[in-house]
C-alpha cells in the first residue's frame, strides 16, 4: 500500500524526509501539531511560529495539489498574509480585478464595479491559483525556519488514528518508512472538507446538500477579454448549462465554470471531447486554448456543531463548507487561522485560560453561519428551487437591465468580507462616539498614514492604539501589550473617518488578529486592564 497521496503535484514543497522521531520507540511530544498543509494549516503554523510557539505541520502529500481550486482571495486574506510576512508575493503574482459583468441569455444585464475604497494597502480581490498561495506560504515557512523559528513541516506523513486524554493528544502517523506515534498538547485539524480526522473522531458534519453539478475548466489562452468577472444566467448555449462564469487568473489561465444540473453522467461530462465541445460553443469562434485542469464538483453548505473538541480544534473546510459563490471558502479558512493562532499561543504560554479556546468556536462558528447564509442565498438565486422562485429570479434579471434597484437583488455570490464578531464574549467597552465600522469585534480597516499603512504598524500582539492624544498610561500586564501612538501627521482624512468619526481623540485596544477589542475616548490603566482581561477570557476578579 502506498502511504500518503501520490497524485500529481503543481509544486513539490515538502518532500518526504525521514526524521529521527520515526525510529525512536518513545513518542516525541509537540506543543502544537497541525494536520494539513493547505492554506489554513500553513497560515496557522506561520502565525504560531512567528509568536515563538513551536509547531509541527503534517501533510499526507508532498506539496500543493493540482488544479487551481480556490482562485479569489479577498483583501482580508491579503492583510492576514501581510501580517504573516507573505503578502508581497501574492500581490505581485495575483490578478487584481474590480469590474464584473452580468448577462442573462444573450443580454448584458448590467456591470458593476467593486469600487474598492481608497486608502488601503491591498486591493479588494486578487485572483490567484491556490497552489501559488500554498507555495508562497511554504516559502515564508522556509525563511522562518532558516531564522530558527520553531516550525517544521513533514510531507507524506499520514495521520491514521487520533485519541486524546486529559493532558495530551496521541496521533498514529504512517510514512513510507512505516508508522510512528507522536503526542501534542493541541492538534489543529485543517485537513479539508473530507477531514479524515473528523471522520476518525466520528463527528458529524451535517447541512444542506445542493443538488447541482458544476464543471470547472481552467484553460490557457491568449484572450482579448478584459480582467473582469463575467457571469451568465442561462447562457445562450445549445449545451444549455444553467449558468456560466469566466474569470482571469495569472499565467494566461482563465476559469470557466458551467452549472450542469443534477442528473448528469459525470464520466461522460469529464471526457475532454465533451468539455471542448462546451468551451468551443462558449468562446468566440476559432479561439485557441489548452485545457489545464478540469473537475466536476458538487457542494454542501454545512458546519460542525463544535469547532473545538477538547484538545483538537477544527479549522477551514474541515469545520465548515460553503458553495464557491462569494469566495467564502478559503477566505474564511484564513480568518479561522487568524482567530485561532493567537489564542492558542496565549494559552500555551500560560497568559490566558483554556476558556479562551472556547471563544474560537464562538467567534468562528458565528462567522461560518454568516458565510453559509450568504452562500445559500446566492445558490438559491442561481438555482431556483421552485416555479415561483424562478419567476421572481427572472423578474429581477429583467428589471435589472433598466432599474438600478433590481441590480442590488441580482445575486451571483456576495463577495467575501470579514466577519465582525458582534456579541463576542471577548468584546469590551465601546466608550467612543466613533464610527460603527470600528466598533468592538470589527476587523480593523486599513488606513493610510503620513507614510505607509496602519495595519502594517499594528503587528501581531495586543496593541493600544492612541489617536489624537498623547501616549496613554499602560497597565502592568503579563500579556504582551504594545503601545502605538500615531503622530498628528498620521491622522489622514481616511484614518479620521474610519477611527474617529466626530470624536477628537480615541484609544483602541486591538487584538493580535487586528480585531478591535475595546475603544474609548480616554481610559485609565485599570480600565484598559479590564478590557484586556475580557479579551483574553480571564475570569472576573
Amino acid at each position: 500500500m502506498t502511504i500518503g497521496a501520490t497524485h500529481a503535484l503543481t509544486h513539490v514543497l515538502y518532500p518526504y524526509t525521514p526524521v529521527p522521531a520515526q525510529a525512536d520507540p518513545k513518542p516525541h511530544h509537540h506543543r502544537v501539531l497541525i494536520i494539513g498543509a493547505g492554506p489554513v494549516g500553513l497560515a496557522t503554523g506561520l502565525d504560531l511560529a512567528q509568536k515563538g510557539t513551536p509547531v509541527l505541520i503534517l501533510d499526507d502529500s508532498e506539496g500543493a495539489g493540482q488544479g487551481s481550486r480556490a482562485i479569489c482571495f479577498a483583501k482580508r486574506t491579503l492583510e492576514i498574509a501581510d501580517r504573516l510576512g507573505a503578502g508581497q508575493p501574492l500581490r505581485d503574482k495575483g490578478v487584481v480585478w474590480n469590474m464584473g459583468r452580468v448577462f442573462h441569455g444573450k443580454n448584458e444585464v448590467f456591470t458593476f464595479n467593486l469600487l474598492p475604497e481608497g486608502g488601503h494597502r491591498n486591493p479588494a480581490f486578487i485572483n490567484l491559483q491556490q497552489p501559488y498561495l500554498e507555495k508562497f506560504l511554504v516559502d515564508r515557512l522556509r525563511v522562518l525556519e532558516a531564522q530558527g523559528a520553531p516550525i517544521e513541516i513533514r510531507g507524506r506523513n499520514t495521520v491514521t488514528a487520533v485519541s486524546q486524554d486529559a493532558d495530551h493528544v496521541t496521533l498514529a502517523i504512517d510514512t513510507p518508512d512505516g508508522p510512528y506515534t507522536a503526542t501534542a498538547d493541541h492538534v489543529i485539524a485543517a485537513d479539508g472538507a473530507r477531514s479524515p480526522i473528523r471522520e476518525a473522531m466520528g463527528l458529524s458534519f451535517k447541512g444542506r446538500v445542493f443538488e447541482d453539478n458544476f464543471l470547472i475548466a481552467d484553460v490557457r489562452m491568449k484572450a482579448p477579454f478584459p480582467t473582469e468577472r463575467w457571469f451568465w444566467f442561462e447562457p445562450p448555449l445549445h449545451s444549455a448549462p444553467q449558468s456560466a462564469l469566466l474569470h482571469k487568473q495569472p499565467d494566461d489561465i482563465w476559469r470557466i465554470d458551467f452549472q450542469l444540473g443534477w442528473d448528469i453522467d459525470r464520466t461522460a461530462e469529464l471526457a475532454p471531447g465533451k468539455i471542448r465541445q462546451r468551451i468551443d460553443e462558449f468562446l468566440p469562434p476559432g479561439t485557441e486554448y489548452d485545457l489545464v485542469w478540469t473537475s466536476i464538483y458538487t457542494f454542501q453548505c454545512r458546519r460542525m456543531d463544535a469547532f473545538r473538541h477538547a484538545r483538537v480544534l477544527y479549522a477551514g473546510d474541515a469545520a465548515h463548507q460553503v458553495s464557491p459563490f462569494g469566495a467564502r471558502g478559503a477566505n474564511s479558512g484564513l480568518q479561522d487561522a487568524d482567530n485561532l493562532a493567537w489564542k492558542l499561543d496565549l494559552v500555551l504560554k500560560g497568559h490566558a485560560p483554556d476558556a479562551l479556546l472556547d471563544t474560537y468556536h464562538a467567534e468562528r462558528a458565528a462567522a461560518a453561519d454568516e458565510n453559509i447564509l450568504n452562500s445559500t442565498r446566492a445558490t438559491d438565486f442561481l438555482t431556483p428551487k421552485s416555479e415561483i422562485s424562478r419567476i421572481f429570479r427572472d423578474a429581477v434579471l429583467t428589471l435589472a437591465r433598466d432599474h438600478p434597484f433590481a441590480r442590488a437583488m441580482v445575486n451571483s455570490g456576495r463577495l467575501s468580507t470579514p466577519s465582525t464578531y458582534d456579541g463576542s464574549p471577548l468584546n469590551g467597552t465601546d466608550a467612543l462616539d466613533g464610527p460603527a465600522r470600528t466598533r468592538p469585534g470589527s476587523p480593523c480597516p486599513d488606513a493610510p498614514l503620513a507614510s505607509g499603512y496602519l495595519l502594517d504598524r499594528l503587528g501581531g500582539s495586543f496593541t493600544l492604539l492612541a489617536i489624537g492624544c498623547p501616549p496613554p498610561a499602560c497597565p502592568e500586564t503579563a500579556i504582551p501589550l504594545r503601545s502605538l501612538t500615531l503622530a498628528d501627521a498620521d491622522l489622514t482624512p481616511d484614518l479620521r473617518a474610519r477611527y474617529l468619526g466626530h470624536a477628537p481623540r480615541a484609544l483602541y485596544l486591538i487584538r493580535p488578529d487586528q480585531h478591535v477589542a475595546a475603544r474609548w475616548a480616554d481610559a485609565a490603566p485599570d480600565v484598559i486592564r479590564t478590557a484586556l482581561n475580557t479579551a483574553t477570557a480571564q475570569p472576573c476578579p
Binding site: 415561483i388 419567476i391 421572481f392 427572472d394 423578474a395 429583467t398 428589471l399 432599474h403 434597484f405 437583488m409
Partner: protein, 63 residues
C-alpha cells in the same frame, strides 16, 4: 411606517381596472412574470423592511 390597510387609493375601481388591463392578452406565464416584476417594483417603492414584512404577513393571511 406601519402597513396601511385602510383605503388609500383615491380611485379603487379605476386602479383595479388598470391592473387587469395590464394583463390583457398575456399568457399565464407572461402574467406571472408581470406580477413578479410589479411586486418587486412596489416593494422597492415601500422600502421600509418592517412594512414589507407586515405586507407579506397580511398577504399570507390566515391560511
Amino acid at each position: 411606517m406601519p402597513l396601511t390597510t385602510a383605503p388609500n387609493i383615491p380611485d379603487p375601481d379605476g386602479f383595479y381596472d388598470e391592473l387587469l388591463a395590464a394583463h390583457a392578452g398575456l399568457t399565464k406565464d407572461q402574467s406571472d412574470a408581470l406580477n413578479a416584476r410589479l411586486i418587486l417594483i412596489l416593494a422597492n417603492q415601500i422600502g421600509d423592511r418592517a412594512t414589507l414584512s407586515q405586507a407579506l404577513a397580511a398577504a399570507r393571511g390566515r391560511a
